[in-house]
């Protein structure tokens, strides 16, 4: 009974804490500007199923795709097992689903195999990350926290899976001993090999089984609460993020409606715009971006696929699209913290542009869309870069001087170069 109460309290606390943090993140995302991503629900659904559920963009790199697939499937399916743990914990039962008989054995057996593949994949990932010099794990933005974050996640998953398998091994041995409370249920294709390593007395086995059970479930609840602080948050956000992803051709940039109004008014003085209040052009801070940009930032898994294909980054320039996403997330999280502490009106005098992302970075982008193509969860770093450029050009007039010259030429000569419009058709005269 005591155990059940402790279990209830821990579970409720964990869920409450997670809900609070999740709501904060959603609140932060809502600080962004509106963006319309509600059209074409069927296409959105299939995109989500293909990209997030079906992992379609992972296949470009087969080795991590293969390993990631096991971890992913393990995560999805082991949730069924967590359901049983929850019921057992609350009602003091043991293996409540054992009545399913053969199906139960099949389920437990497959969980074991999955737990094992997750274990092995995470171990390989750990080695890959820390011993092989894989370039995309070593960007300037991969400082202490992002680096240890990845390792914590992998180690935790290994520990959780170890606890699960050890628990089963102890349980299987107890079943053989005919211990009361330990019903004969489950199949143990992996953990049976651990049985010989375990103590043989019933008392010791029960202690081991119970400790692993508690460790496993508390670990899962703790891990749940780690998510909002970690890149591992993508296991939840990959789904909405792909659902709301951009369905237009990648080459198409938004036609800012506020600008359309002003341009129409300039070309035709009698034009009256439908809605006034143009606001700021482009983005200086994270709150000037759309909620989609901000959701992207929270979804980023810091995998660096974007950066490893960025032509600017490849040739040694400062720009790294992954850093753009991480900076955006760090900045909106900081704004959120400020609001929690000092109220919604608080200004800290900082901004995404300059305090986080430098001008050198944004001007190095060739708008080639390689980063957008490479992202396994359909994140668009280019849109953020474009918004920052729009701010520097339209609000501050701070474009590099050669860019200003190009724009001056377009304005005066209708071409980015300084040629006379009258010469535009000269090419037809020569042979």
């Amino acid at each position: 009974m005591v155990a059940q109460i402790i279990f209830l309290v821990i579970t409720l606390a964990a869920i409450a804490l997670f809900t609070i943090n999740l709501r904060k993140i959603i609140r932060n995302i809502r600080l962004g500007k509106p963006a319309d991503r509600k059209d074409q629900p069927m296409k959105r659904l299939t995109t989500m199923l293909r990209v997030a559920f079906g992992q379609s963009k992972m296949v470009v790199r087969p080795i991590p795709a293969f390993l990631h697939f096991f971890v992913y499937i393990g995560f999805v399916i082991i949730n069924i097992e967590v359901l049983e743990i929850m019921i057992d914990g609350l009602f003091g039962t043991h293996r409540i689903f054992y009545g399913l008989g053969g199906l139960y054995n099949f389920l437990i057996g497959s969980f074991e195999i999955l737990a094992f593949t997750v274990w092995v994949s995470c171990a390989i990932f750990l080695v890959r990350r820390n011993s092989l010099k894989i370039k995309r794990f070593y960007g300037v933005e991969m400082t202490s926290w992002p680096k240890s974050d990845a390792n914590y996640i992998l180690i935790t998953e290994i520990l959780l899976m170890s606890a699960f398998l050890l628990m089963n091994a102890a349980d299987a041995k107890l079943q053989l001993l005919g211990a009361t409370h330990y019903v004969n249920a489950g199949a143990f294709p992996v953990s049976q090999y651990l049985m010989n390593l375990l103590p043989s007395t019933e008392q010791a086995l029960i202690i081991l089984e119970r400790s692993c059970w508690w460790f496993h479930i508390i670990g899962i609840l703790a891990f749940l609460n780690y998510l909002p602080y970690s890149k591992h948050f993508h296991i939840l956000f990959a789904f909405p993020n792909t659902y709301f992803s951009n369905l237009e051709p990648k080459g198409e940039f938004t036609n800012m409606p506020s600008v359309t109004n002003e341009v129409k008014a300039m070309l035709d003085p009698s034009f009256v715009p439908a809605d006034a209040a143009p606001g700021k052009f482009g983005a200086k801070d994270a709150t000037d971006l759309t909620w989609v940009n901000l959701m992207n930032a929270y979804t980023c898994t810091e995998c660096g696929r974007c950066t490893s294909v960025c032509p600017a980054n490849i040739t040694g320039k400062l720009l790294s699209p992954r850093k753009i996403m991480m900076d955006t997330r760090d900045r909106i999280a900081e704004i959120g913290k400020n609001i929690d502490k000092n109220g919604a009106e608080h200004q800290d005098g900082k901004s995404l542009l300059d305090d986080y992302i430098s001008r050198e970075e944004i001007w190095a982008c060739t708008s080639c869309n390689a980063c957008v193509e490479a992202c396994p969860v359909n994140i668009d770093p280019l849109q953020i870069i474009t918004e920052l450029r729009r701010f520097t050009v339209m609000e501050e007039s701070q474009a590099p001087s050669s860019i200003n010259a190009m724009m001056g030429n377009i304005e005066n000569n209708q071409a980015p170069w300084k040629y006379s419009p009258a010469d535009r058709f000269n090419w037809a005269q020569e042979s």
Binding site: E252, A370, T386, T392
Partner: protein, 262 residues
Amino acid sequence: MEFKVPTMAELMAAGEEPEILFWVGCAGSYDERAQKITRDICKILHHVGIKYAVLGTEESCTGDPAKRAGNEFLFQMQAMTNIEVLNAYNIKKIVTGCPHCFNTIKNEYPGLGGTYEVIHHTQLIQDLINEGKLKAEGGESFKGKKITYHDPCYLGRGNGIYEAPRKALEVLDAQLVEMKRCKSNGLCCGAGGAQMFKEPEKGRKDINVERVEEALQTEPQFIAAGCPFCMTMLSDGIKLKDKEQEVKVLDIAEITARANGL
């Protein structure tokens, strides 16, 4: 040029309408190297007897470099002026010689009141080949020659067009070799996003050099391009590597014109 390039104004005066408008673009109009591509596109159109026209001096920058640089005002000013001209001539179908013009007119003009059927010149060439109107006959033979094709970002990743330019090369019976980074994984030439008009940020090397090094790894005789900006960047890179004698950078339109003896 042995024939006269018709302008919209002339056609209009004669009470005629073309099948297709050829949007030349700024590079195609003023850049010496790109002018040759422009003339070859006209030769192809002339050769197959499509009724076409250009805007001539009435054409103006689409606004693409301004938009990518962040100047939405200037972009929309350009766009709306161009749309006015295009709509006044009742244009329905446009072929462009540049992926940037193609992308902008196809994707960004409709929202501002200019909706047209837009194709890139490599798509036109593919269609003509499919229809049997263009063959690789009567000119230079590319049979067995090693050609590698560089995907322009705004044609490939930007709009998903990977097959048309390759089809235009396949008909040559040449030996097509792909670079390590090609199609959706292609590497930018370094010119897009208004980079063409400024010095690159400091780094280990320039993007066009990286790209040309990769192209050279395929040991090609020709690098095929489909964009006047890629043309500039790749040619500069080849010059820098001192490979001008062995490797030629040619636009798909130039290759097609040559293969057909135009």
